[in-house]
Symmetry: C2
Subunit: 324 residues, 2 copies
């Protein structure tokens, strides 16, 4: 995955460096294997989108400096924990071009390390954070689990509509990004109205982000993705481009036959990609992305200081532009 251009997060650059350092520090365990897996996960990196949005939103108000780093670290640890469990569930071999924890250390240690990271996340924030904010974190983890379970249950099922898809994307991805932004606004001591607007911004960014991810499964190369092309399709995850093609392609019955296959061959996946590409599915899906991004831009509170506002607008631009 591409990193965000440095200038977007210029205002929180030092914070981001501090987060990296703190992530390594907090995961330290007397058990070597726990250390090895956790360090691998931190090194695997990623965009640190959620803690960056948390920090940006906090700096849009007047934050209490002491609480920023622990919360930012907790948010990233929760994200890391969900990723390591997702990779077990998807039986993924690579993520961001590196072997997954499950590929390297097995499913069992990976499940336990995910649990360990969840617990470490709460250890990081328990003592210094207001309880209603801890509740936001625990609630959003429940929601993410529900979203993932619905996704599992509905895989290989072509009889879904866009409303099902949007609910799933909200639960899996957008609600957590919304919560990261909301927690930032709360740390920034914004008023209730602005907190709600910032949350809405995060939600829209999250929807756009996940739909883009779902598009890239069809358009990016394996090298760009750091994982195989058509990975979602192969797992029977019915994303927006597939839903569009299932409705609008002249080959929709053939596509339907592919989507329901629990064990797709490489040729099935290739043909599925072809059918989707031959429709306007990608353009249609980008249309949805842009509509969410426009909404994200529109709901930003007017009172926000201009540097933060520009950064949050730049995040919206980037999410719309990223091609891998």
């Amino acid at each position: 995955m591409s990193k965000f251009p440095n200038n977007i997060f210029g205002i929180i650059q030092e914070d981001l460096v501090a987060i990296e350092k703190e992530l390594y520090s907090i995961i330290q365990s007397p058990v070597d294997l726990v250390n090895d897996i956790s360090v691998h996960l931190v090194q695997a990196g990623g965009k640190r989108l959620r803690p960056a949005l948390y920090l940006l939103c906090a700096r849009g108000g007047t934050p209490n400096q002491a609480e920023l780093l622990p919360m930012a670290v907790a948010i990233e640890l929760i994200h890391m924990a969900t990723l390591v469990h997702d990779d077990v569930i998807d039986n993924a071999a690579t993520r961001r071009g590196r072997p997954t924890a499950n590929a390297r250390w097995g499913n069992h240690s990976s499940v336990l390390t995910g649990d360990y990271l969840f617990a470490k996340a709460f250890s990081a924030v328990t003592l210094g954070t207001e309880k209603n904010r801890l509740k936001i974190l625990t609630d959003v983890i429940c929601t993410m689990c529900e979203g993932e379970i619905v996704q599992l249950k509905e895989s290989f099922n072509p009889d879904q509509d866009e409303a099902d898809y949007r609910l799933r994307v909200a639960q899996k991805t957008a609600d957590f990004i919304a919560a990261s932004c909301e927690l930032g606004a709360l740390s920034g001591q914004m008023d209730e109205h602005d907190v709600a607007q910032i949350r809405e911004y995060g939600y829209a960014i999250g929807m756009a982000f996940q739909i883009t991810d779902d598009i890239l499964d069809f358009t990016a190369s394996a090298e760009q993705l750091g994982k195989p092309v058509g990975n979602d399709l192969r797992q029977g995850i019915v994303t927006l481009p597939v839903l569009y093609a299932l409705k609008n392609s002249p080959y929709r019955d053939e596509l339907r036959g592919i989507v329901v296959k629990q064990a797709m061959s490489d040729n099935d996946v290739k043909r599925g990609l072809e059918i989707v590409h031959a429709t306007e599915a990608v353009e249609y899906s980008y249309g949805q992305v842009n509509s969410y991004l426009q909404h994200a831009r529109n709901v930003l509170p007017l009172a926000l200081n201009s540097t933060v506002r520009e950064s949050l607008l730049a995040v919206a631009d980037f999410v719309g532009l990223r091609k891998y």
Copy 2:
């Protein structure tokens, strides 16, 4: 597994009924599958040892009534979450004589439901509990994960000593039971010294409980256990009876050859059980159990009210007597 005799927990009988009700209430999810799996896990029951000890210890002091139920429920939810993940890790087909969640709904939904239960546990206590007590919970989850990972790493390894074993049992089981008791003493507003003694009691009970479990893997029937006999041995988990036999049996080299096998046949397991049984391993291990239980009885604070004291002593008696 056997239930505790009713009279042991007579003093907290109403609380235990309330816990059952609250467990069903808190796991409710708009997602049917999440509900189904969670309800299955609550119904699978168990002794509710940890919340019962929490409540008993709390009632040994002067508890704030409002905080008891949420914490007791959180403790049981955390225990349930670890069990569902353990069953995935052990690839277990049955627990307490019923199909496991992974056997019925697959590993993936089970991993996610475990995560959901962890998060629900914290949702239950975040708003109404002092932060230092939340920290006790998060820290002990980290410890349990470390213990389980060490167990995985050291499976099929005959070169362990009793100190390794005790550390593992402490991390896997005793520390959480110790924390349940400690949290009870804190809810009961006991003084620092008594809190430490109660924690020590819980630790000793936990050690005795797990060593007994490890003995029962050799001595109980499959019907009594609700899972296959020799299950730990088959998974390469080197428990106290095995360690004893590896040191003292005339057939120790043969046993060593069995323990290192990653895929033991039924005959291997049967022969392993025979070799262990032909030594004093079971008697020796029960000797350790009794020594921990004696310590548990001795460390109970003198100031404890007599009904609670008698219940806690009865728990120690029961742990020593249970044969399945």
